[in-house]
């Protein structure tokens, strides 16, 4: 067969290529919230980019200086709204750290760990589901939401809320859990364990998904450290750092679990696929913690009786970090002895994780830019605070 005739005017060497500025966001389905990035492109290739954040700034830190500590817990819900339990826990631990002799009841500690880990699973399910959707796979999203729904139902029975819980509070938790809730958590553990295989079949081993994510957006260990990246993004680059193991808070030192890290199994170490796989594996490790905690949960009070009346931490400063589903969430709390904080600073993991976007997306295709943003799994609520 003869080669098709191509007019000379259409030869690739004759096509002019020039740079263009492309604005993506702030309202864009694949920027995961109101995140705006201005991209300098040459055709489909990203030459440079600049991130703009702040569209969701709600003065969280300023609010904390005008409402009481207990009311501030409610505001922490709205930081990383997909991991509210973790946010509540971090802030509560920070306030408790200001006291010298506060003892948190064992039952409360167990409930906190169970809720934080269930919430991590729910958050990773959403991350995985929407990541698949960014790449073009709709079905995994529905499967993820089916399972996430079960966790939200458990939370609804525990504290009446499905998203912003305001459940973990300084001194313990807001309400006790009863046997029916413990049974529901046990049922969920049994139900969810075999589901990981489903996600692997649907997404992890899907050839299209692997090709879209492997070798894309490679984040080197050095760059990750310099930008203070934490959580699954850091572990995806092969760094075994997890605060639950390195600097245990609450009662995490009692539980047996692994810390999954990226291995570059389908491409390069630190690529989008590695970050994705860390999340998939972390869900099973979180499930192991839930199973252990729920089997050991003791009877007793669910909050301390040492706090009476208004919560007035003594004068002082405290800094606390917990391993949230997106990385290290920290609170720097300064108290001057009143029931209102003098200063609260939130160290948000997504703020660090998204700040390196310019560096890892240089030279990528625009479609890969979407894959990279999705793999970093940001929540704008905590970037902008």
């Amino acid at each position: 067969m003869n080669a098709p005739h191509i007019p000379k005017a259409f030869a690739a060497s004759d096509v002019r290529s020039e740079e263009m500025l492309l604005n993506m966001g702030p309202q864009h389905p694949s920027t995961h919230g109101v995140f705006r990035v201005v991209i300098r492109t040459d055709g489909e290739i990203v030459i440079d980019s600049e991130s703009h954040v702040g569209y969701l700034h709600r003065c969280f830190e300023k609010h904390c200086e005008s409402v009481s500590f207990l009311q501030s817990v409610l505001y922490t819900d709205r930081l990383d709204y997909l991991t509210s339990m973790g946010n509540n826990l971090a802030f509560s631990l920070g306030v408790e750290r200001l006291f010298t002799d506060l003892v948190i009841p064992e039952r409360a500690e167990h409930i906190r760990v169970i809720c934080a880990e269930l919430n991590r699973i729910a958050s990773h399910l959403l991350a995985i589901g929407t990541y698949g959707m960014d790449i073009g796979a709709i079905t995994p999203f529905l499967y993820c939401f089916r399972d996430r729904e079960k966790i939200l139902s458990i939370f609804e029975s525990i504290c009446g809320q499905r998203l912003n819980y305001n459940y973990v509070r300084p001194g313990g938790v807001a309400y006790d859990i009863d046997d029916s809730m413990i049974a529901a958590i046990k049922d969920f553990c049994k139900y969810f364990r075999p589901k990981a295989q489903e996600y692997d079949d649907l997404l992890s081993n899907n050839d299209i998904f692997v090709r879209r994510t492997a070798n894309v957006g490679v984040l080197s260990k050095e760059l990750a450290l310099s930008y203070g990246v934490t959580g699954p993004c850091l572990r995806g680059s092969g760094v075994k750092r997890d605060l639950r193991r390195d600097l245990p808070y609450s009662i995490y030192s009692r539980f047996d679990f692994e810390i999954p890290v990226g291995t570059g199994e389908r491409g390069t170490l630190g690529d989008c696929y590695d970050r994705y796989m860390v999340r998939v594996r972390e869900m099973i490790e979180s499930l192991r913690i839930v199973e252990q905690a729920v089997s050991q949960i003791p009877d007793g009070p669910f909050k301390t009786d040492q706090i009476k009346g208004k919560l007035r931490p003594p004068k002082g400063e405290s800094f606390i970090r917990v391993e949230n589903s997106r990385g290290e969430l920290g609170f720097y709390i300064i108290s001057d002895g009143k029931d209102v904080a003098y200063r609260v600073k939130c160290r948000a993991p997504s703020f660090h994780n998204i700040s390196l976007l310019t560096d890892i997306s240089r030279g990528a295709m625009i479609a890969d830019m979407v894959a990279i943003i999705g793999s970093l799994d940001i929540v704008m609520g905590e970037v902008d605070r």
Binding site: Y227, G228, V239, D246, S318, F319, Y332, R343, K345, S355
Partner: protein
């Protein structure tokens, strides 16, 4: 890297720079004179191995503004140390460390935006969380929120 060790190294290398040291195991902190901050920061990263800037907290201390750099070693025992740099409120200038810890770029922009500390030498010190045309620095204690913004009335009392 324990706080005592960090203090020892800094004392040996920059004796004048260290103005206070609090070894409190729950919250160790070192106070550094602002004029030495850049050289001390290099020592902290290269000699003390504190390669991870966890957080930068800006605090309004009435006559002074304080920047608290929380630092840690990434590969090793986790033990954050807080480095305090205090500058006068009417002339709040601190040298930038964005080239020492790259994450300082956005953190310094945030501290400038919300607290009004100027980081000298920063390549792009513009507002990050507030709108570009916002006036004032909201986290200062004497901040008054504007009555209107682009015709939108402020009904918060």
């Amino acid at each position: 890297m324990t706080p005592d060790k960090v203090h020892e190294i800094l004392k040996a290398k920059h004796a004048q720079a260290v103005s206070a040291f609090d070894p409190n195991p729950k919250h160790p902190s070192i106070k550094i004179a602002p004029e030495f901050w850049r050289v001390v920061a290099k020592t902290l990263r290269d000699d003390c191995g504190l390669d991870y800037l966890v957080s930068l907290t800006a605090v309004d201390r009435a006559a002074e503004l304080e920047a608290i750099y929380t630092l840690e070693v990434m590969d090793g025992a986790r033990c954050p140390i807080h480095v305090r740099v205090l500058v006068p409120r009417d002339n709040p200038l601190i040298a930038t460390v964005e080239d020492i810890w790259r994450t300082a770029d956005w953190h310094e922009r945030e501290a400038w935006d919300l607290m009004g500390i100027t980081f000298v030498g920063h390549h792009n010190l513009v507002r990050i969380l507030c709108a570009e045309d916002w006036e004032g620095h909201p986290l200062r204690k004497d901040y008054k929120s504007p009555d209107t913004y682009h015709g939108i009335k402020n009904n918060v009392t």
